[in-house]
């Protein structure tokens, strides 16, 4: 494992990481404003609201207005962060996001929480399995899916520093820490090598980075060295890391809490297909269906995107 990576028993709230990073950005920069749609508490925008009530706008249950208003605030020279659940942010106001933000290339940051199946028991209406698929075709948009608390804070701060529309996707509840330091060199568009290995590669994002690291630890005991890559930026994707994995390892498996169509796995497969193909390749995620309801760990196990599922698939692909 790389010196900055770890497998931790400690899990922390990434929405809190976002709320704190946002508040600290607001401390430093007067142009930071935030919006939510009756979910300010859930996405922890309230942390900023307590300190700067005049710079936070809760528009009620009106995501379309939230996103277009964010566009107007950006046209007025401010840097808005619009935050609500991923499933609503990416689908309910998709047209506004397309025309008002991406087409005009405005400096609006969007934070979608409760990504993937992380709002587990709430049911499929509150699972976001299509957000990355819906947004990946938007020109000018950057898409980031941080792996843990530390990375969510770094991604939020990096989003402020980089001009243009950015979508950050995090989860509800908590995610296991995968970094023991903030100084591992987070950079938008550049993946992070978490574990070295040449037998096979797992390219993961979000919660699946921790799962892949646990799988790698277990596989090591079975004599398999799994390379684990944290592909935190899904667009633009880090082609070099994929090409290297294709060349140096026995194959690639992708792991994401998303429909296998249109997300990380699709993004990686596009690079793989255009560059001669991988020795072995498989996308792990939710097969093209609306996800089941249940405890998150059970859902991840059901779709084989937990550590055991990743391990099982890697061994099968290696014919072991």
């Amino acid at each position: 494992m790389k010196e900055y990576a770890m497998i931790s028993e400690e899990a922390r709230s990434t929405t809190e990481a976002f709320g704190k990073a946002l508040t600290s950005l607001a401390d430093e920069h007067k142009d930071v404003v935030a919006l939510s749609a009756d979910l300010a508490g859930s996405v922890k925008v309230t942390l900023m609201q307590k300190k700067y009530p005049e710079r936070v706008f809760d528009v009620g249950i009106a995501e379309q207005n939230m996103v277009s208003m964010a566009a107007g605030l950006a046209l007025g020279g401010l840097v808005p962060f619009a935050a609500t659940f991923s499933v609503f942010l990416s689908l309910r106001d998709l047209d506004q996001l397309h025309t008002d933000i991406c087409y005009q290339d405005l400096n609006v940051k969007m934070l979608g929480s409760h990504g993937g199946t992380s709002f587990s028991q709430a049911g499929s209406t509150h699972h976001a399995l299509e957000d990355i698929a819906a947004l990946r075709g938007m020109a000018n948009l950057t898409i980031i899916c941080p792996a843990d608390y530390v990375e969510t804070q770094l991604a939020t701060k990096a989003a402020y520093e980089k001009y243009g529309p950015i979508y950050i996707r995090i989860n509800r509840g908590t995610d296991y820490d995968v970094y023991n330091t903030e100084s591992y060199g987070f950079e938008i568009g550049k993946s992070v090598l978490m574990n070295e290995g040449n037998d096979f590669t797992c390219i993961a994002c979000g919660s699946m980075v921790h799962e892949a690291l646990v799988a790698a630890r277990s596989l090591k005991e079975k004599g398999v060295d799994l390379r684990v890559i944290n592909m935190h930026t899904i667009k633009p994707i880090d082609k070099d890391a994929i090409l290297k994995a294709m060349k140096e390892t026995g194959g690639i498996v992708t792991a994401e809490d998303h429909n296998v169509i249109g997300g990380l796995g699709s993004a990686v497969s596009e690079v793989v297909a255009e560059n001669g193909g991988a020795k072995k390749f498989k996308r792990l995620g939710v097969p093209d269906e609306f996800s089941i309801i249940g405890a998150r760990k059970d859902i991840l196990a059901h779709y084989e995107i937990d550590a055991a599922g990743i391990e099982k698939n890697v061994l099968a692909l290696l014919n072991k």
Binding site: A62, N65, L75, D95, Q96, H98
Partner: protein, 239 residues
Amino acid sequence: MNFGKENYLSPDRDRLIISKGHAGVITAPILADLGIMDEALLPSYNHTGSPFGVHLDKRKVKGLEASTGSLGHGLSIGLGLAMAARLNQKDYTTYVLLGDGECDEGSIWEAAMSAAHFKMTNLITLVDRNNCMIDGRTEDVMALEPFADKWRAFGFEVMEIDGHLFPEIISALEKAKANKTDKPVCIILNTFKGEGVGFMRDNYKWHYGTLNEEQLAEAFADLEAYETARIARAEKEGK
């Protein structure tokens, strides 16, 4: 409006959002008349590779505040711009021109609710009430009436005027700017689609169309007569 060639990039300028983005064909010549958009580009309208077509792109047309086209977005964008003015302590006014048909969109009413909630008195909404939309007359396709009452119920000060008479428009805008209430203002401009051209007037089928040579000549003749009559009437009324 505090907007022109000298200050169209100034952070203090007034803003106008043309939410009915299909009005690009009349927006571009006005921007050219103001000397902001290059007049020489006008003949390239809708041509392959032209910087502008039916719906204008703010990244390609100088002086345009927002790229619009998908309807129902403009009032929210204007709300954001007006809020930015408040936060940045700027005293510019944001104007939003809506079509009446686009008021079918729920997002217009999300924005209206917010504009009243946030007491956006630096935001002036204008609605082109021409009673026409692509599939027919508004009241046949999806009834909007009682339209003014809807805006009032959403917390707006409402004025209803003849949208073809400049003195009425100017006076309504002056009143809107002098508004002392904490309500945003909505000005409903009662208009006729295709005003001034006999065969187009009040005919929803001319939402979008192409003129042949004969129609073009007729339209120009009608417009000339219309302009002459208007000037004569204004002089008679001393306006």
